[in-house]
């Protein structure tokens, strides 16, 4: 990853950009900052938002708080809905959304389950994917969208609907698919012998068959792209998901469901050669 960051750094000297990284203090923040500096020497860290030319906010909370500085704001791993809301309010901001693109996940699902035809997708109000996104899908998979407002509805939906599906794909949605609901979702699905994909790495650890996810490196790379774009044109690129997400496979589940790829490396290789 460090190598990727280094390779992404421009070879010629440019005007320095004072950036303040707004995030909860912790190892993730320090690692993130170090990686940014290592990735681009033109980035200067500002000790506060007031002293910075732009602000990088990690997560929804930091993103929301950074708006007050009135400076260009790049949200990293923030919910799509929050970014869109703030942007509609006039915030000079852009975001790397939490999660990965629906098409990427479906492509991965297709690789893992080539015979799957009918995939169910449950979304809520804060999900990374909107109803429109799902409806805009033009791939060969048949998608069935289930809209739920809170976790209490999940069980009922799953019991009633899973039987007609080949697999279930979940978006990043902290309110719906957090740790509290994982067991419900996964156990219900597996008792009905239906594999679950997504929404991100920890869910795979909890039992999801496989998922693409935005890793720390992915986010740093994407952030560096945005910062270079900002330094070059003084404006952000369009908000969106990371372009090259990482992939993780739950080997046990993949084996249980006799999926095509049983480990992450094999799946990554397959994804890289996809058009």
């Amino acid at each position: 990853m460090i190598w990727l960051l280094l390779s992404a750094a421009p070879a010629h000297a440019r005007e320095k950009l004072k950036v303040h990284v707004q995030a909860a203090e912790g190892p993730f923040k320090s690692g993130f900052v170090n990686a940014l500096q290592a990735g681009n020497a033109d980035i200067l860290l500002a000790p506060s938002g007031e002293a910075a030319e732009m602000i990088v906010a990690l997560g929804d909370e930091a993103f929301s708080r950074s708006v007050q500085f009135g400076k260009p704001l790049l949200g990293v791993f923030v919910s799509r809905r929050l970014e869109e809301t703030l942007r509609r309010k006039g915030c000079h901001c852009a975001a790397i959304w939490a999660g990965v693109a629906l098409n990427d996940q479906l492509a991965m699902l297709q690789l893992m389950m080539p015979v799957a035809a009918n995939v169910g997708i449950i979304i809520g109000r804060n999900s990374a994917w909107s109803e429109g996104t799902v409806q805009d899908y033009r791939g060969r998979l048949g998608l069935t969208l289930f809209k739920v407002d809170d976790q209490a509805e999940l069980g009922k939906v799953l019991r009633e609907e899973l039987d007609s599906l080949d697999a279930l794909l979940l978006p990043v949605d902290e309110s719906l698919f957090g740790p509290d609901s994982a067991k419900l979702v996964l156990l219900t699905s597996y008792r009905l012998r239906r594999p679950v994909f997504g929404p991100e790495q920890s869910y795979v650890h909890a039992g999801s068959a496989a998922s693409l996810f935005a890793s720390g490196g992915d986010l740093v790379s994407e952030t560096l792209i945005q910062l270079e774009s900002f330094m070059a044109r003084k404006r952000f690129r369009r908000s969106g998901f990371v372009h090259t997400p990482s992939v993780i496979v739950n080997e046990h589940v993949a084996n249980s469901f006799d999926m095509r790829f049983h480990d992450s490396e094999a799946l990554r290789s397959a994804l890289e050669v996809m058009p």
Partner: protein, 639 residues
């Protein structure tokens, strides 16, 4: 008392062993049961935990959620006995292993397996299995719990301890009770046993005073009665013993008195007898008419008979008192037999009887070992009796021998007469003292009736028998059977006594000191000695004799024993002491005593005398005793 087999020990064993056995059985059964319970508890716990873990790990196994499985395992591992948890998928592949680092090596592990099932979907609203689920539980893996048996072992130890402590307490209590009861029972028995031992030790005064009840009380009472009886018996016995001792003492006193009387009588009879016999012998030497000579011979014969009677009485007395001692020596049997026969030949011929000796060839040249004096006495008695009771025919003395071993000879000496014989019914009385065939015999033939009794007793003392074969009118045969030690080497003269005929008195030479207080005997002895050719110096008592002996040497001293002033014994002792002090050669001293008892002879020799002649003596006897000291050679050598 041997504690190993004592009644107390046995009672303790009887009281304790069955109880201990039953206790042991009960303990084993209960402990076993509790072990089973503990094992069952462990099995139930393990099974329960495994099934619980299996049901709670369904999600983890289905989802491959190792965090969840680890969390489940760690929750389970809070149970201290659980050593490890293994989750496996349906193909046996290990999904997760969670084990303790501090596992005790070597501790045994009990594994519990439980299948993990994918459950059908439950509709939480209707609490029914979802119609969509439909299927029954499907096995998707298993959980394996490794339970340490240490807890079970610890539990078993606890059980064992919990069982053993009461058991030991019960055992100790049981032992104490058994010990107490055994002591309660054994103590009276030991007490009574001690009582009996005391009684056995001879203390019959002791009585049981313990407050015993029942059978033991009866036993103590019986022992007390027994002690009383024994005490009474001992008093009676002691009384009887005292009486017996008194009687014995009395008998001893009487016996001593008898012996003393016999000795005194012997002395008192022999002293005048010596005078009579001596005078008759002197008279016999004088010139006499035929009638006078005949009278003298009859008087000598009668005196001889009287002397025989006295000797018989003394011999029997000595035998009865156990004072008859034997003096066994090697000697030739043949001369003794010849000598015996020659003694009686004159008497037999006078009665017109033949007296002959028949002897086998083995007798000649053999030395047998026994007391010749006593054997001669037996034979003389038998031959004398035979002549006495035979009027026609004669007497045959037969001697036969049979060698039984290399150095042992069976000798049979028989005296057969052709006399009146002895009725069979009276033969048994014949050997009894003071008994003759009938009183008429005594009157007819004379005698004390002691002869055969003495002969039989002497034969037995010589190690043989004296038997009789006779019939009335058919003569009698008395047989002396002896088993004698013998040797053929007559050249070895050790202990050999030569037995020969009595010879006529030799003519003797020398100076003799005759010590005698009785004037008659002094005269008799002096005349006889002078007739033998000896010069005689006289003394009337020991002191006078001692004085004379110290003044001049004598070739021999004839010393009476019982004398006034100083007796012969004391005089001899003083003479010997004087000779030692002066360094002089001892003068021969021959006792001349009327005491014919054997003890007297020994006393004389002990006092330092050289020989002993019993009064009354015949000239031949005196000559034979004095010959060694008064031969011409000795006399001339001046001693």
């Amino acid at each position: 008392m041997n504690l190993g087999t004592g009644i107390r020990k046995q009672l303790q064993l009887l009281g304790v062993v069955p109880a201990l056995f039953m206790l042991g059985l009960l303990l084993v059964a209960l402990t076993w049961q509790r072990f089973e319970d503990a094992d069952r508890d462990l099995q139930a716990l393990g099974g329960f935990m495994a099934s619980q873990l299996a049901s709670s790990s369904e999600y983890g196994v289905l989802a491959g959620n190792y965090s969840d499985l680890r969390r489940q395992a760690q929750l389970a591992m809070q149970q201290a006995d659980l050593q490890y948890v293994v989750f496996r998928d349906n193909e046996g592949k290990v999904l997760l292993y969670e084990g303790r680092q501090d596992r005790v090596p070597g501790s045994s592990i009990i594994e519990f397996h439980s299948g993990i099932y994918r459950q059908p979907l439950l509709d939480t609203e209707t609490m029914s299995v979802s119609a969509n689920g439909g299927d029954s539980p499907v096995r998707i893996g298993e959980v394996v719990l490794g339970m340490s048996s240490s807890r079970l072992l610890a539990r078993q130890k606890e059980i064992l301890l919990a069982s053993l402590i009461p058991a030991m307490s019960a055992m100790i209590l049981g032992l104490w009770i058994a010990h107490y009861l055994a002591r309660q029972i054994a103590s009276p028995l030991n007490y009574l046993s001690g009582l009996l031992r005391t009684l056995r030790g001879g203390d019959y005064h002791v009585r049981g005073t313990s407050e015993l009840q029942g059978e033991l009380g009866d036993l103590q009472s019986d022992i007390n009665q027994l002690a009383s009886s024994l005490e009474e018996a001992r008093v009676d016995q002691q009384s009887a013993i005292n009486e017996l001792q008194a009687a014995h003492k009395q008998a001893q006193t009487a016996s001593q008195a008898k012996s003393d009387f016999l000795a005194m009588m012997s002395h008192e009879l022999r002293t005048p007898m010596n005078g009579v016999l001596g005078m008759l012998q002197l008279l016999e030497q004088t010139r006499q008419s035929e009638e006078q000579h005949e009278y003298t011979q009859v008087a000598l014969e009668s005196t001889g008979h009287l002397l025989d009677v006295i000797n018989d009485i003394l011999d029997f007395s000595r035998i009865e008192a156990g004072r008859m001692d034997l003096d066994p020596v090697f000697f030739e049997l043949e001369p003794l037999l010849d000598n015996c026969l020659s003694t009686f030949r004159y008497l037999a011929e006078k009665k017109g009887l033949y007296l002959k000796l028949e002897k086998d060839s083995l007798i000649a040249g053999r030395l047998v070992r026994t007391d010749p004096t006593r054997l001669r006495q037996v034979l003389n008695n038998l031959i004398s009796n035979a002549i006495k009771f035979t009027n026609e025919g004669g007497i045959t003395v037969a001697a036969s021998t049979h060698q039984v071993r290399e150095d042992w000879l069976d000798v049979k000496l028989s005296v057969t007469d052709t006399g009146i014989g002895i009725p069979e019914d009276k033969q048994s009385r014949l050997f009894q003292a003071f008994s003759q065939v009938d009183s008429s015999t005594s009157r007819r033939f004379g005698g004390t009736g002691l002869g055969l009794a003495i002969a039989r007793r002497l034969s037995e003392m010589l190690g043989g028998t004296l038997t009789l074969s006779s019939s009335e009118g058919g003569g009698s045969t008395f047989t002396v059977a002896l088993r004698l030690f013998f040797r053929s080497d007559i050249t070895d003269d050790r202990e050999v006594v030569l037995i020969g005929h009595e010879e006529e008195p030799h003519t003797l030479h020398g100076l003799v000191l005759l010590v005698e207080d009785n004037e008659v005997n002094l005269m008799v002895a002096r005349r006889i000695l002078e007739q033998m050719g000896v010069t005689v110096v006289t003394a009337m008592n020991g002191r006078e004799a001692l004085t004379k002996a110290e003044q001049r040497d004598f070739d021999c001293i004839l010393m009476d024993v019982q004398m006034p002033v100083m007796d012969g014994m004391e005089a001899t002792r003083r003479l010997r002491q004087w000779e030692r002090e002066q360094g002089r050669v001892p003068m021969p001293v021959v006792a001349l005593t009327a005491n014919a008892m054997e003890e007297e002879r020994e006393r004389c020799l002990a006092a330092g005398m050289n020989a002993h002649v019993a009064k009354p003596f015949r000239r031949q006897q005196l000559s034979r005793v004095l010959t060694p000291y008064l031969t011409p050679e000795r006399a001339q050598s001046g001693r």
